[in-house]
């Protein structure tokens, strides 16, 4: 699967499908990050665009205002997102998880309102990023062939997945799964529950922020109605759930499907901004949840079991 994603932009040169792939990779990173907190730790956030927006805005602002490299912006965005995550999580994680869900929605609105009323952040219009010379240092490339954008997005997803995988290997992984299964019992086993929820939130926020930074650089325009929207937060949740909460490849599959739906509704039904894509996607999520609660990945696994000869190849 990893190899396939690598080869893809060398083979596929169609602008539509190249764009879909880049966007899918970016949203897969965000969904994988959400999944760490929502799927694995059991703390369902409906406000992940907070962190996505934080990445995009930090990078954009530092670039436009101080001319700082987007790479510096990405790192700074991570720090701001982690700080924001801790500020939100610290008080709220004292309470049960559904309060966390509600708080994330509320924070999302608060931050949206603060940003669209802030002139330095471009208020309601957002920030337009300057076109620079195409180079890795500037994180800008020719848009005629999205190959470099694709490869960097893929690297981003790789690094994110690796970070999450490493987090899950030892004590932290065991603890966050225990928290999802039964918080009280986890506590009785000596798990400092709030601290480990915050660890998961911090890593999740950092990765989501990276995805947001990169999206900002890719689109060269930071629109609060996109990067700080409730729609985006919901899209991140749906991608995580459709793919299969708890699995590593799930978010990628979910992201791909959502991107195709999004682009198709935009092109064919000129449905930009009316959330029709999310409606269609939501229905799909419901349908799949009924058929296979483990998501598309679960369906894939079931098919793989039916086809014993190809089983090993499919599992790779």
């Amino acid at each position: 699967m990893g190899l396939l994603l690598f080869v893809y932009p060398f083979v596929v040169k169609d602008a539509f499908w190249q764009n879909v792939a880049v966007l899918a990779l970016v949203s897969a990173s965000a969904a994988a990050a959400w999944n760490l907190l929502g799927g694995i730790t059991g703390q369902v956030s409906f406000g992940h665009s907070i962190f996505y927006g934080t990445g995009a805005y930090t990078t954009g602002y530092l670039l436009v205002r101080y001319g700082l490299s987007p790479w510096v912006g990405m790192a700074a965005g991570c720090l701001v997102a982690v700080a924001l995550g801790i500020v939100i999580g610290f008080p709220v994680f004292r309470l049960r998880s559904h309060y966390f869900s509600i708080a994330t929605i509320a924070m999302q609105q608060v931050i949206f309102i603060i940003v669209v009323n802030n002139k330095a952040l471009g208020a309601a219009t957002g920030i337009e990023l300057p076109l620079r010379e195409a180079s890795l240092a500037n994180l800008q490339f020719s848009t005629r062939d999205l190959l470099p954008y694709h490869l960097i997005a893929l690297a981003l997803l790789g690094v994110s997945s690796l970070a999450i995988w490493l987090f899950m290997q030892g004590k932290a992984g065991a603890y966050v799964k225990a928290i999802r299964d039964d918080e009280d019992v986890a506590r009785a086993m000596g798990v400092p529950v709030r601290r480990y929820k915050l660890y998961a939130l911090a890593l999740s926020a950092a990765i989501t922020s990276l995805a947001g930074s990169y999206y900002g650089m890719y689109s060269l325009f930071i629109d609060p109605n996109v990067v700080l929207s409730l729609n985006l937060s919901i899209a991140i949740v749906l991608v995580g759930v459709l793919g299969g909460a708890g699995s590593l490849w799930g978010p990628l599959v979910g992201a791909w499907v959502l991107q195709v739906i999004q682009e198709e509704t935009r092109v064919r039904l000129s449905g930009a901004g009316n959330a029709l894509d999310l409606v269609i996607y939501g229905l799909l999520v419901m349908l799949i949840a009924v058929v296979e609660p483990a998501g598309l990945i679960g369906i894939g696994r079931r098919l793989a079991r039916r086809l014993p000869v190809r089983r090993r190849a499919v599992q790779r």
Partner: protein, 243 residues
């Protein structure tokens, strides 16, 4: 300094006094039985000691530290391990993973935590089932898993909440042997059982709760002769037989 010392511990739920002015002392290496009819306040008392609930009043000292009102994870770190009466296993995990959540408390390295968990599973007789999905275990095995998980935190005091109820006579006597073995290795045990017969052969001392109040304390022989105990228990058993 005693291992555990409860002084005038009370816990109210609204108007209900679930635990009423209870005194209790446990020394290192003790096995104390805590019995009483359903609703007597045994589980609540456990929750108070293990930090799952704060007491309304009274003091709970564990190895000299005032632990009443501590969080449960802090109590676990201090050395208080507990099982849950209604088996609350981590259902998405394997048997081994369940126990590793406990062993990570004092062994941060995964390999060491795994070794300890495997060792504990051997001790409780679940070694063979380490790789199984915990959700698929039988009731008896789930109770052993509850015990293994608590043991993996390497406690100094183990609170066992009806780990033997619902077991067959053979399973019960195996469990009794297991608790005896753990105690011989130096672990202090506070043992809640609804059934008196299980507690008697194991405990040096027995404490009897009824409606939150400690109505008797003494050796198993003394307690089983105590008229208040007989009344509380016989009343309960007659009611059970009649209902």
């Amino acid at each position: 300094m005693s291992l555990l010392e409860l002084d005038g511990v009370t816990r109210r739920f609204g108007g209900l006094v679930a635990v009423n002015d209870v005194d209790l002392v446990l020394e290192e290496g003790d096995v104390v039985g805590l019995i009483g009819p359903n609703g007597a306040g045994k589980t609540t008392l456990f929750a108070l000691i293990a930090g799952s609930l704060p007491p309304s009043s009274g003091s709970i000292a564990f190895r000299g530290a005032q632990v009443g009102g501590w969080s449960a994870d802090r109590a676990a770190r201090a050395g208080i391990g507990r099982t849950f009466q209604i088996m609350r296993i981590f259902k998405s995990m394997t048997v081994l993973e369940n126990v590793m959540v406990g062993s990570y408390l004092r062994e941060t390295r995964p390999a060491r935590a795994r070794d300890l968990a495997e060792q504990v599973l051997e001790t409780v007789g679940l070694g063979e089932l380490a790789g199984q999905a915990a959700a698929n275990l039988t009731v008896a095995s789930k109770k052993r898993l509850e015990l293994a998980r608590a043991l993996a935190t390497q406690p100094r005091l183990l609170l066992l909440d009806e780990v033997m109820s619902g077991l067959t006579p053979v399973e019960t006597s195996e469990a009794v042997e297991l608790v005896r073995k753990l105690n011989q290795s130096g672990l202090a045990v506070l043992l809640v059982e609804h059934v008196m017969e299980v507690v008697m052969p194991l405990s040096q001392r027995v404490v009897v709760l009824d409606h939150g109040v400690k109505i008797a304390e003494g050796t198993p022989a003394e307690v089983s002769r105590d008229s208040a105990v007989i009344e509380a228990y016989l009343g309960d058993q007659h009611a059970a037989a009649g209902g």
